[in-house]
Symmetry: C2
Subunit: 333 residues, 2 copies
């Protein structure tokens, strides 16, 4: 969750059939048929391990969501959680310039958790994987202390060209985004204040981010010099590119303005700017390109320059340091 707004611990979904009423094999028999197959899936889940057809380079990443920290059942269905955890993992594959091919998913849950919630989660996982033509390669089920539910996903992908790292931004590049900015955080704020009707698209982005996965490998092919997906906010993630690359990124308020304006009516100017600069969980792609190469669909946000003498690499807005630091998992700052 972004902006240091640690969610309160929410009640777990109970009712219906508790998980503990099934043994592991019975539960797997309810889950595995939901998953489709792809041409790359050579051995499907159910053995010690699955086998995936691969090429010379395979991308691997993992990301986990925890009830009460990353979602509340009052705001997100099981299917929403499944969609979201897949989206955020596949966005990391796309942000390297790769095509997602497979995922593994682990559910660690209180045995009192509702089976119906789990099957809804599985439906969301399966839908999101089918939409991205990604195979489910396996998973694990484990019991947890009372009230604990977490879903951990590992995603694999195929890399056809060179990986696009965070460290490749160069003096003279343009920083650009593919997709929205601040929408997921705006949706979270509307959910928190009970105003979700004011901007359904923002709420939908919070519940089910839909990164444009094809834009990642397309950007790589077009010559992106650095890329990541926006998990923790523009300033925090842009700062990662800047520090990894040893450059200064200077955001242009005029280029940010359209993103802020679409949220101002709903949230007010200050919160709208907060969302755009520091809103997490957006999972749009952020990349740098040589100034003469900005592929279709990418919107420029600022410029990359070499640090001045004695200047630290980092991110600025109109030449100034600004204090929106985004979300940190442990310190909550």
């Amino acid at each position: 969750m972004p902006n240091g707004q640690r969610l309160q611990r929410g009640p777990m979904m109970t009712g219906g059939t508790p998980l503990r009423s099934l043994d592991e094999d019975q539960l797997l028999a309810r889950i595995l048929p939901a998953y489709g197959v792809t041409d790359e899936l050579l051995v499907a889940p159910g053995d010690d391990a699955a086998v995936l057809r691969t090429t010379e380079r395979t991308i691997a990443t993992t990301d986990t969501v925890v009830l009460g920290r990353d979602w509340l059942d009052a705001w997100s269905s099981g299917a929403d959680v499944g969609h979201k955890v897949i989206a955020q993992n596949l966005a990391d594959v796309a942000a390297m310039g790769g095509h997602p091919t497979g995922i593994l998913v682990t559910l660690v849950a209180d045995p009192e958790l509702s089976l119906e919630w789990v099957l809804d989660l599985v439906a969301g996982l399966a839908d999101a994987c089918a939409a991205a033509k990604v195979a489910v390669l396996g998973g694990d089920l484990s019991s947890a202390p009372a009230g604990v539910v977490m879903v951990s996903v590992t995603a694999l992908g195929r890399l056809d060209g060179e990986p696009v790292l965070r460290s490749g931004a160069r003096d003279g590049d343009v920083l650009a985004v593919y997709g929205s900015l601040g929408l997921a955080d705006a949706g979270l704020r509307l959910l928190q204040t009970g105003h979700e009707g004011r901007h359904p698209q923002a709420v939908a982005r919070q519940r089910r981010p839909e990164p444009s996965l094809a834009a990642g490998p397309a950007a790589a092919e077009a010559g992106a010099t650095s890329m990541l997906d926006l998990s923790d906010g523009l300033l925090r993630d842009g700062g990662r590119i800047a520090r990894s690359s040893g450059v200064v990124i200077d955001l242009d308020p005029a280029q940010l303005a359209p993103f802020v304006e679409v949220l101002t009516d709903v949230l007010g100017a200050e919160a709208a700017l907060d969302c755009v600069l520091a809103g997490g969980e957006e999972h749009s792609l952020l990349a740098t390109f040589p100034a003469d190469v900005l592929p279709d669909g990418w919107r420029a946000l600022g410029r990359v320059r070499a640090p001045a003498e004695g200047e630290e690499p980092g991110i600025l807005v109109a030449g100034e340091v600004v204090m929106h630091t985004g979300w940190d998992h442990f310190s909550g700052s």
Copy 2:
């Protein structure tokens, strides 16, 4: 944990420096330098994703451990937990006939958890990976409710030949094991009763199982018809081979006897037999081979035959059904 002996919830390791006193970047800066590199690691952790050199077929599997369910801090150090979770994942890769190449690891923990415990865990993970020449490809850190600590690992491996499935056992095959039987469960019983000095090797097997990873691909090459690693006990896992393959496996008491005898002095005859038949977490390899092919180091345990008319596939001991069902995660039965 095997045998339905659900562990009590143990106290989490606190003291020293709590995790919450570091932000995520500071914590990663303490963790990432512990991990070595391998020739297969093309892009190391620290970007959106890592990149692994792969070949045509990649094995993928995942397995998770939870404090209080899979370990107690009173019995296992952080390094023990790290070793064990790697061993159980790599054993799954070996049991398909593959060579492990990479892992991803997720820690979900109460922010009050001791940083020193986490660094000990990381040392164990790093040691186990280095011993197996496996690269750490990435991971995730997430906070969890009070008292919760879990470690989730995904392992990848290279498959050079055909995968060895559970479903290939055939009439006339021999069932055999590579490594010990019942030792890890014996170690658990000794820990539970405060008698760990009676059989240090069993206790060590419980804390740090050491599957013979090279035996997996060697068995595949020698013609193994089915294989898995022993996670949930000989009867339960052998039953999986039998049902997947549509065969009856008949264990030979004379062939089991040497495994039982080495534990009888320590545990008594009945408990020793329990450990051998139903003890989990052993992570030795169990496989079937054509009768004329039993590679070095494998010890025969019984025979595979076609079901008689009207007989269900399953596992027997000297022709009889026996009632040791091993461990089930959710129902605890």
